[in-house]
Symmetry: C2
Subunit: 652 residues, 2 copies
């Protein structure tokens, strides 16, 4: 007997309800509700090869409604990916299982990105769709010709980032992006009309999208809607009218199955209702065979693609590009040019000239700014505009969409073939912090160019002056935060950021000009995180530790102290993370405990106890103020005279 | 000769261009472009009394496009507010001037909220409009009957928070909210079509808004659009087609005047073009008189209102409510009930029962949740739903809009008469961090109920498990972060949060059950931030410092140590901010330096050096994982056995 689509869909429903029940934790409602859409998508449209989950030209599928993670695990298992096994699914949500509560890209192949923080999956998919078009423009249809598919829920659509993401997608005309909206009219608190009255289709249309609607439980109607979406050159939203928990006779269509197991009795009732007499975690062979067959078309497409790649002039470049290999040969000549002609410029400007060298050498770098191009200095001669008329460009005008930009960059990095960087003011890291965290968790190579990194912002005042931002970014695991002090360190930090294949970076850069302090370029000293920039001449009593724009101030303090016969080292510490990774001996040598250690950073002092112990922490523990930069540095006590006086008082 | 509207508008233009020129810093383009709208609004519609900027029934005006701050300072000066003076305007953007780079509510009356971080002004205005309708429902038309007006730019509309804010406003039917969109088609990087292709009017309509368009330089057309908006019972967007920098013959309509002075030559040209022959900062007496007359209608309305207030039965309650006076009498009986019947419950549940007592006693408390009501436990029997059918309700279903919720709460608190609190998961503090920062900067009394505050979240995994969030919130100036350990501390912290008229609070609350540890309720010990919960029995060698759910673990560790003859104190530290504010003697007594100090908190350990020096910092410096809670606590070493072993190793 031929296996029906309904039987295939019910296999997803059964796995979802049984895994959640076994874990006594999880969200069965979404995978049960969207099982029919999943069946049509995987069996008729999605281009994938279960034996080659990293195949570069696969379609990307993003489960933006990540709480419905059993949707992902069920489809990956059924279609024949090596992971998860049925044992993994039985261990859903258990420590060590690849079937985590939410899908984690670093745990399982076929999960293109980590989702769960609502709205971000769809926004990352926008980045993936940009990456596809850009690489298509670079390498041609033979090598890059795929789509990006998303399943999103009401939460993904209600979050603010949705507005940013779909606005960008509409503007860039990303017609290969298709979003299934699980239109089940239920959120955690109950019916969606408790909190929203929006005409979602009209909003998407207003943002330049094509919109379809279908009965999410009618296989033919789903297929029709997908075909209509494929035929339209705009990004598409398909509103799939579904019942959450579809199949559960007493709970479908209510908020009950959203985030709780169905319960043993209701699972029995559901088995009966959907004609699924099989034991938990058992998929009949014919149904499993039908699912496994869905990957054949993709496997064949993959084989054809592999032949095209082998025959392509681009083969080597494309393979290296997708592998993310980078060459840092641009760095040394750039450093030499700086030594030859030292420049006293803002580190944001130093970043621009470093980027000018890097983008000329590395075509994978793709930049942008959230409407602050002329302030972030993120654009170079090598980065023309990427827009719907020319996807070969390497610069995205992200608009005033910091969060959308950050999520899109995550999507580009996850897609592969692109090393994205994007600029905004450091203060607006707060607007995109949730995406920066996902960069770190997902281990993506994304570089955040965060300029105007202190009260050095000046007159714009406290709303625009970072105080706690640098320290708060240092708190995020697997994020490298750099605050270079001059042109040399800025270039060094850029090289480190570009080389860090599995760690995102933040470059905190000054608005104001700074002297070029470094004279030795024989080694990338920024790689050590912190190092002695200046050694005490008199007997060493003090070690000043500065970052970024305050290193030059620390040097002035040291000079004042030396004039009084007090020896003072100056340590530049562009990166805590890299310094912490050094050997205990190195750290003790750079920060000897028998000295008065003094941190100087124009931001919160909380946290600097780590390096100065009972020493002095010079910084700012209140909000900033509006005024010219010199007045502010004086007002907040960040001048050499005022710091020296504090040190003398402490020395007694 | 009668002063024309054009002359009045040009007074704004002149002040804006001259102040920015004098400061050599600022944004003349917006105030010059919107000067005509400002003139119509202030002279014909806005209800305000310059002599009584705190009048409760004034219209609220929010300059969401805060970079155009000279719009605010010019109108406040011209209409006759005591501040700013013309001298203040001459000192625009200088340290100490109330005319800061962006408008700061704490520096100047008439500035209803701090703006500059784009999108948040409009979102706060939504909260103000909710507050108005709620207080109207409570106190009647005689006392509360005003409107909320907003000027927003393209940036405010492009930010994600705009979607959340207007969705909420449309759903709640806030017909007294009118937003002027400065439709100048210019952003910092250039024309808006560089980055957006959106049909903004259609999007607003899709969100339940009424939309008008007008020529922003045609006084009659502006007036017509406002009348049409007043006549509609939906919130209104008025698209005002303007030229940025209007009046500047060579720069209007370009990006040049957005964020830079016009320059001396262009100012001369502008003076000629707009027929403004007067020196900088000089407003001819007749034009100033015309402006000063605009406040008369408001002053009369204020006088009538004062009579109504005096005659009202609500007079005393209304006055106290608007003054934000609170009575903490609810606390002690609640604590006594807990002592009488101790409860081992999650602190999120402890929060619910504290809120049940507090909301019954304090009608000013107005709650809500971002679609996590049943998880945050934010709803009580006293808080019925607030929706467009019943504004008297005290509970807002904010939907999946964390950022919009936070900003709306800021708006409610700034409006006065309401003490807002709202719930989400602690991890999603990252989604609304920029609004939490504005709570702190603006000194608003907002309580953030942040549940699921650690790996105690369990199976949902790393995307939902806060690691760095608690510490990163502690970094924000003027924000009290509470992490109570049991029912008693939770109630104490709630009392402190409600009493803190000028400081917002975060309550970080557990998902999991915790024992009731406190037995003494004679004093609000949480007010000290940290205190000795348990004293060593044997000779004290160790001081354990715990917060929240880890205090009970610290107690178990202490018991294990005592069994080995090692004396150990346990300090509960629900609030760093409050502990830091204690005397040095108190702090030294609680955390004696001659002991091994050990912090225990299920989050990042960075920062705990402050209290433990070279002691032990027990916590989690990586992302979390998906699994049952007990497995996770064991995996991350946060069990009594594992901690005790570390302490013994350290003691040697």
């Amino acid at each position: 007997m031929t296996v029906t689509e309904q039987q295939m869909a019910n296999a997803i429903r059964a796995l979802a309800m049984d895994a959640v029940q076994a874990a006594n934790s999880g969200h069965p409602g979404m995978p049960m509700g969207m099982a029919d859409v999943a069946t049509v998508l995987y069996s008729k449209f999605l281009k994938f090869d279960p034996k080659a989950p990293h195949w570069a030209d696969r379609d990307r599928f993003v489960l933006s409604a990540g709480h419905g993670s059993m949707f992902a695990y069920a489809t990956l298992y059924l279609t024949g990916y090596a992971s998860p096994t049925i044992e993994d699914i039985k261990n859903f949500r258990q420590l060590g299982s690849p079937c985590a509560g939410h899908p984690e890209n670093f745990l399982i192949d076929g999960v293109e990105c980590t989702t769960g923080p609502l709205g971000q999956g769809l926004a990352m998919a926008v980045g993936m769709a940009v990456a596809e078009r850009h690489l298509n423009a670079r390498f041609g249809d033979d090598l890059v010709d795929h789509r990006t598919w998303v399943v999103a829920g009401d939460g993904c659509l209600m979050e603010g980032i949705n507005h940013e993401a779909i606005g960008l997608a509409g503007h860039l005309g990303l017609g290969r992006l298709i979003v299934f909206w699980d239109d089940n009219r239920i959120t955690i608190d109950g019916a969606t009309d408790l909190s929203t009255s929006e005409d979602i289709a009209a909003r998407y249309r207003a943002s330049g999208w094509h919109v379809e609607a279908c009965d999410g439980h009618d296989f033919n109607d789903i297929e029709r809607a997908i075909h209509a979406s494929l035929a339209d050159n705009r990004p598409s939203l398909i509103a799939c009218r579904t019942l959450i928990g579809k199949g559960s006779p007493n709970k479908e269509g209510t908020k009950a199955p959203h985030g709780s197991p169905l319960g043993a009795d209701e699972i029995i009732a559901t088995r009966a209702a959907i004609h699924w007499p099989y034991p938990a975690f058992e998929i009949p062979a014919d149904i499993l065979d039908a699912w496994r067959a869905t990957g054949q078309a993709g496997a064949e497409a993959h084989a054809h693609w592999a032949k095209r790649l082998a025959a392509s002039n681009h083969a080597e470049t494309f393979t290296k590009t997708m592998a993310g290999e980078v060459d840092s040969a641009w760095l040394q000549p750039h450093l030499e040019s700086l030594i030859a002609a030292p420049q006293n410029i803002a580190t944001r400007k130093a970043s621009e000239i470093a980027l000018t060298a890097a983008t000329a050498a590395l075509p994978d770098l793709l930049g942008g700014s959230a409407d602050l191009t002329g302030s972030n200095f993120t654009r170079t001669v090598s980065t023309n505009t990427l827009d719907k008329n020319d996807y070969s460009g390497r610069y995205v005008n992200y608009g005033i969409r910091e969060f959308g930009m950050a999520a899109a960059m995550n999507g580009m990095a996850l897609h592969g073939g692109i090393i994205p960087y994007g600029g905004t003011f450091l203060i607006f890291s707060d607007y995109c912090r949730a995406a920066i965290r996902l960069s770190a968790l997902q281990e993506t190579r994304v570089a955040y160019v965060m300029t105007h990194d202190s009260i050095g912002v000046g007159e714009d005042g406290p709303t625009h002056q970072p105080i706690e931002q640098i320290m708060s970014l240092r708190l995020i695991p697997n994020l490298d935060v750099y605050r270079p002090c001059d042109t040399i360190e800025t270039a060094e930090c850029w090289a480190l950021a570009i080389e860090s294949a599995h760690t995102p970076s933040v470059l905190a850069l000054s608005r104001q000009n700074l002297p070029q302090l470094r004279t030795d370029i024989s080694e990338n000293m920024s790689a050590k995180g912190g190092y002695r920039l200046r050694s005490a001449k008199a007997e060493r009593k003090v070690v000043l530790i500065g970052t970024g724009s305050e290193v030059a101030i620390a040097v002035s303090v040291a000079e004042q102290l030396e004039e009084m016969g007090i020896g003072a080292d100056v340590v530049s510490m562009p990166s805590w993370e890299r310094f912490d990774a050094q050997s205990p001996a190195y750290k003790a040598e750079v920060l000897p405990s028998d000295t008065l250690r003094v941190s100087v950073e124009a931001g919160t002092t909380m946290g600097w106890e780590r390096y100065v112990g009972d020493g002095l922490r010079i910084g700012i523990d209140s909000f900033g103020a509006s005024g010219p930069i010199d007045a502010l540095y004086d007002h907040f006590g960040l001048t050499a005279d005022k710091i020296t006086a504090q040190i003398l008082a402490k020395l007694g």
